[in-house]
């Protein structure tokens, strides 16, 4: 393989890796979006999942326990958010903002208490479980791009496919969608729109928790601000994907490609890295505008 082809394969391979947290979080956020609540707290929920997931994985030396902790902590936070907005009738944006602030505060304070640093906490974890037999990863080009990934990455795609099925075909998914369209009609039919909203918040928590954890695992560490805008990018993916799971997945791949490209360009060009770091946000902004115009 020529050098140029190697680089190309590397960028695409990292695109799949970088899409994993986005995919988990945006599919999670899709549920609350469909229930009629724009969940701006994805960012904070991802941070919570990353911190508690990595902390538990580090403590137990077990990635599975880490994933469970990531889900539990993010769901707890999203239930808190659901309680304040639904039970106490607070504004969902303000509470979302509050959750983002809370996540930053709690993770930094606890990082200081537990690890005595507000900077990088590195964890030594068992090597990620490969999802495919090693032989498949040896196939030129396609192997490294598609078959070199861990179970967690493959699960992100199963999560998207599963969500598509639940939303389209299950009674549960239909109730969530109906709540977003016309909550009154749902309650006239004898179902509780509040229950559907809480369920949607739980889905959001599961997705963003796992997304945050995937982010932590990909660098085997936790840093405050590890999420750095990915929760917002995941939110835009929901719009760009027009609230359809598979299109959302495609949008995540697009944003992940921008991230992968900017990572690569940072190392190998004369363009200042700080400007390159703005690239994923710029791509996201442009696609947000494109998606907005289509309405």
């Amino acid at each position: 393989m020529s050098d140029r082809a190697m680089i190309f394969v590397d960028i695409l391979k990292y695109t799949v890796v970088a899409a994993t947290p986005l995919l988990y979080a945006s599919i999670g956020g899709l549920f609350s979006e469909l229930a009629g609540m724009l969940n701006i707290a994805l960012e904070g929920l991802m941070g919570i999942g990353a911190f508690f997931g990595m902390a538990a994985a580090g403590l137990s030396h077990n990635v599975f326990i880490g994933a469970v902790a990531a889900i539990t902590s993010a769901v707890a936070a999203s239930l808190l958010m659901g309680a304040v907005t639904i039970r106490f009738r607070a504004n969902v944006f303000i509470v979302g903002l509050a959750i983002n602030l809370l996540a930053g505060g709690v993770t930094t304070v606890l990082s200081q208490r537990w690890y005595h640093t507000k900077a990088v906490v590195a964890f030594s974890l068992p090597a990620p479980l490969p999802a495919f037999p090693a032989a498949l990863a040896q196939i030129p080009f396609v192997g490294p791009i598609l078959f070199s990934h861990s179970v967690l990455t493959v699960c992100a795609w199963l999560w998207a496919i599963g969500a598509a099925f639940i939303i389209r075909n299950s009674r549960h998914g239909i109730r969530i969608r109906a709540t977003g369209m016309n909550a009154q009609a749902v309650s006239v039919l004898g179902y509780s729109p509040d229950r559907a909203r809480v369920a949607a918040m739980i889905w959001s928590g599961v997705g963003s928790g796992l997304g945050g954890f995937a982010l932590g695992l990909s660098i085997s560490a936790f840093v405050p601000n590890i999420v750095s805008g990915r929760g917002w990018i995941a939110l835009v993916a929901i719009y760009l994907g027009q609230k359809k799971p598979l299109w959302i997945a495609a949008s995540c791949l697009l944003f992940a490609f921008a991230e992968s490209l900017s990572n690569y360009v940072q190392g190998f060009s004369s363009i200042p890295p700080l400007l390159v770091l703005a690239l994923p946000y710029a791509v996201t902004l442009v696609s947000l505008i494109a998606a907005g115009n289509k309405k």
């Binding site: 106490f88 009738r89 303000i94 509470v95 809370l102 835009v236």
Partner: protein, 343 residues
Amino acid sequence: MRAERELQSPARVVLAVGVSIALAAGVLALFSQDLGSALAQFFLEPFSNRYFLGNYLADAVPLMIAGLGVLIAFRSKNFNLGGEGQLYAGALAAGLIALRVPAGTAPVVVWIWVAVAGALTGAAIGALSGLLKAFWRVSEMISSFLISAIVINVSDFFITGPLQDPASNFQTTRQIVPQFLLPRILAPSKLDVSLGLAIVLILVFMVVAKRTRVGFELRICGENEEFARYCGIPVAAYQVAAMAVSGGLYGLAGALLVIGPQGRVMRGFSSGLGWSAISVALLAQGNEAGVVPAALFIAFLSTGSDHVMMGSGVPSEIISILQAVAMCFISAGALPRFRRRQS
């Protein structure tokens, strides 16, 4: 239906203030070895002498200015989440001017240029989100956040690249020459005359809101967009204007920090201020006059937690937790009653 008790707006504020103070005390009790002295540091030290008091007030000034802007945007139902970037860009514009003007320029001229440049820079960035909302139906929350993220990266590039002070180990521009810094009051603290400007701005915005057509129409846009359109009010123009004013006041706050307490543009110096201004606007409950006590309260929480951090090892990030809790209480419209009403 669940029985609920409506919360009146003063009750929300009292609850939010009370709970966040109680929580602050609770966190201190959990984390500090010597609770008595930690509490004293949190609650009393900021007021204990001229220096601490001045610095505390200096922290409240940008919160008043930026909080006022958030409040105006709220009134028209616009939610500006790009404050961090707008503040940073305003500061950078201010730094560019204050560092480049010839040494002989009259300081007043420099201050005016710096303030105008900061405000215009922030306003342009805010207006962009307003335009996107008005004409492309793009959520102003998401666009302002994303634009802010881009602006922060680009500003960081200028601060650490072309403008980096070669003599400093920190990522910062050079110091601005002392004669271009705003005159201090309550020396040796960092408090300067921008406190007066903040108060004047709040008064001006109060008059505009209560006595002018513009203030009245802005309120109608926020309360009922459909009705405003029906009345022939140019809703799109008000959306853009509200975001521009909000961004402009963030930019102004950043510019005044550069020719005031900071004296230079440092990487990351805005961290958190953009979000705190939102807490201020929420606490003020749609009332310009409320911005002053709200800014004083949020500044008190952050000053208090800074003092405690120096003293007893609790990271100053507890301020975010306190603010988050205050926000939830302010926003809650009702307290559920846990038993059913007999009806």
